[in-house]
Symmetry: C2
Subunit: 79 residues, 2 copies
């Protein structure tokens, strides 16, 4: 069974991917979404869980729909 930690890591990878696309430093992104820059580094490494509001703030700072940050494989039993 895929652990929740795996999804947190994949979410973090999507944050990193978008941040580097926008050529934003930790500090620049942190300022845009009112987060501490060390929190962003931990989120990108899947080392920090996050609240719904933080997901929304990150999406705003990254100018991306929050749905895109959940763009990873997820098993569904479509019956």
């Amino acid at each position: 069974m895929i652990s929740d930690q795996t999804y947190l890591l994949k979410f973090g990878e999507n944050v990193l991917k978008r941040r580097t696309e926008l050529k934003l430093s930790y500090r620049q992104l942190a300022q845009k979404c009112d987060l501490d820059f060390s929190a962003i580094s931990k989120i990108e490494k899947g080392q920090k869980s996050l609240e719904f509001q933080t997901i929304i703030e990150l999406a705003k700072g990254l100018d991306i729909h929050p749905r895109e940050l959940f763009d990873f494989d997820f098993p569904i039993n479509k019956v």
Copy 2:
């Protein structure tokens, strides 16, 4: 500016929509995703923030990709 509360409400509406699609009661969904059934009712009404892990648990219980629970309008400045 759209408040974060609005997104929480839209997220809750997506949970409600999927739960009723599956004809699950609060209690049945609560059992499937190891949450308290009163928490689900509050989440559906946008009255309760939630952690990343809870979003993943809800998606598993609803047999839906977590991305779909973020299916709502979100302003992006695509330049």
